[in-house]
Amino acid sequence: MIWQLLIKDLQRRKARPVGIIVWLALPLVLAFLVGLVSSGGSSSDQPQITVPLLVEDHDDSFVSQFLLGAFGRGELGELFSLTPVDSGRGRARMDAGKASALLIIPLGLGDSLLAGKSSTLILVKNPAQSFLPKIAEETVSILAEAGDRASRLLDSPLQEINHLNNRDNAPQDIDVARIAVQINRIIRRAEPVLLPPLVQVTEQTIKIKENQPTPSFSLFAYLLSGVVIMTLMFMLDNLAKDIFVEREQKTLFRLLTTPVTRRQFIAAKLLFMWLMAFLSLLLVWLFAIIAFNITPPSWLLFALLVVVTTGALSALAGLLYSFIATRTQASGIVPAFVLVFAMLGGAMIPLETLPGFIRQLAPFSPLYWAVYPWQRMMAFGDQNFGVILFLGVLAAFTLAGNGLTFIIINKRVRL
């Protein structure tokens, strides 16, 4: 009986194929667009990112000038937009959202460095932004590390410079020459290590053999993992409405006068939702695998994940509909839930771009559990990301969610 109901729903979709084609094509189109965005375009086409960085220089020594000069040279000069601010005004501009970070150079930084004492740079990050303050933090850390290494390497001549600085009279030429020779010797001793450096970075393009898992990160697969889950949820929302459609067109009433039971009707609807979601997810990833040369690290894991992901998403859609009384209610409430779940779960926007407090909420979104394993597997080529945990959670949700949906709808569905 369930089989007959399933065939009937497939026939109905086949008779009006536009709706289902749109739902199947949507993630494919999105996948294609995401693919183009993540793989195409020359660097000159990319928008220039600039990090607005405020600086309060309380030290104003040659060391602090050297540090700030580093932000104005080469690639750092293109990346950072440095704005000196007076003491106390930096915070106000940060609060107004006009900068990504505020670098505070404390008084005595130069003296401390010359004296070999530790000193602290303060970087205040704008909490409303995610990426840009992170860039500022990384850059300042690198410069601080470089300053620390330089002060240790040139400890003796720096001590001498400090001593000369503290004298009342100007340094004599002989002293300057002696220190210069000393620095020159240290650099020469370090030359085998520094020039050429032991660690070289060279750019290479490697050929990936066909059918060999790509070891590198795929931004396309990463973004697609979220987009496809969100699209599936909207498709399932549309399919779940069919319970109301059958009620409104009175076919549910008629079905229940035949040997079909209420339970069989609900089971067939849930099965149909799962089947459509399964086919859709499979098609999207097969398209991505063929068109964008992404290969899952394990086909078994891929197959299992398709089954449990679609099972869990169908259960989620079913559960949302368990508490809905009419089609009008469903049209208003369910998409709102899906959007919130998608946002929190990283299906709409990558979690890494969201503020920290939202990232902490991610595990509370059911979609997080569906998106994350796909990102790890397809984008990072990872098959050891706690696979058992995620598969287990999705499988458990499939069973519990569908079971609960079945019980609630069976009690609530009206003729």
Binding site: Q4, R12, K250, F253, R254, L255, T257, P259, L415
Partner: protein, 312 residues
């Protein structure tokens, strides 16, 4: 003597304070068309829903072929065909796919299902357009297909809930013929309607229902005897209460059925001349604006039983 297929005994159903079905009992025998006649809201559809076990009754019992109904009993459901008041079809599918789907639910398959589908489509005049989606059909065509689905598995009991609502007279005749033919093959038919003429033409026995009660039950001739050798006279005009109070004692053979300030409903013997009544009314200064005489039929029976006209 035909066997009883459907037996309904002392059925009750209330929705809060509204008694939708109140002590309803009747039986339908094999080959019989039993009409449940009543205005909208009389309780006909609620009774049908309880017979289908889609709605639990508060008390009473329903049995089909001597087996009490049960929502889980699929064997009983196979013996029953239901044609709901609303058109219940899959509009995306064509007529053949609809019939095949519903037929399979009743366990039909293969050449048998195919032959029955073709035969029914021919009988309801839809064979030529059988491969078109139902969404393109007119209301009458959908009604005919709605009926065909209920007949497909040749049930022992056919429940028809106002199956001819909103269709043209020609299609209605076609459907009534098909229903008669089905009954002649031995199917027990429960037919609810609010069309008096349809009930008079079609039904072997009738029950008149109002406000959840069965007011009267029997064949058409039996029901008409309730009116007796009398006819119903409806007089429209403007009547003062004291005028009517004075008038009534002077008309000894007349029974007052209903009265208000604009209408008097009277039951009068066939032997009484209308002119005689009008003369008496004139004597009492009653202004008569219109006059309506009803000979014994279901309408006059309903009027006699309820004091109200049978309205949709």
């Amino acid at each position: 003597m035909a066997e009883t297929v459907l037996l309904v005994e002392h059925l009750y159903k209330a929705f809060d304070s509204l008694k939708a079905v109140n002590d309803v009992s009747f039986e339908v025998k094999a080959g019989e068309i039993f009409g449940l006649l009543g205005p909208n809201g009389a309780g006909k559809t609620t009774t049908i829903n309880m017979i289908c076990s889609l709605l639990p009754g508060d008390s009473g019992s329903v049995s089909i072929n001597n087996m009490p109904i049960n929502s889980q009993n699929s064997t009983l459901r196979k013996q029953m065909g239901v044609v709901p008041q609303d058109i219940a079809l899959y509009e995306e599918l064509n007529a053949i796919d609809n019939l095949v789907f519903w037929g399979r639910l009743y366990g039909l398959s293969g050449p048998d299902l195919k032959n029955r589908t073709t035969a029914l489509l021919t009988k309801v005049g839809l064979l030529e357009r059988a491969k078109e989606p139902v969404s393109r059909y007119s209301g009458g065509m959908k009604r005919r297909l709605n009926l065909a689905i209920g007949l497909l598995h040749e049930p022992d009991l056919l429940l028809l809930d106002e199956p001819t609502v909103g269709i043209d007279p020609q299609a209605r005749h076609q459907m009534l013929d098909l229903i008669r033919e089905t009954a002649q093959r031995g199917t027990a038919i429960l037919y609810t309607t609010h069309y008096m003429d349809e009930a008079e033409q079609l039904c072997d026995r009738l029950a008149i229902m109002d406000h959840g009660h069965i007011l009267a039950m029997g064949s058409l001739s039996e029901l008409e005897t309730l009116v007796g050798e009398r006819r119903i006279l409806q007089i429209g005009g403007s009547f003062m209460t004291d005028q009517i109070d004075k008038l009534l004692p002077t008309l000894s053979e007349i029974q007052l059925i209903n009265r208000d300030q604009t209408q008097l409903t009277l039951s009068i013997p066939f032997s009484m001349a209308i002119g005689q009544i009008l003369a008496v009314l004139q004597e009492h200064d009653l202004q008569v604006e219109h006059l309506d005489i009803k000979n014994p039929n279901l309408d006059s029976v309903f009027l006699k039983l309820t004091g109200r006209e049978f309205k949709d």
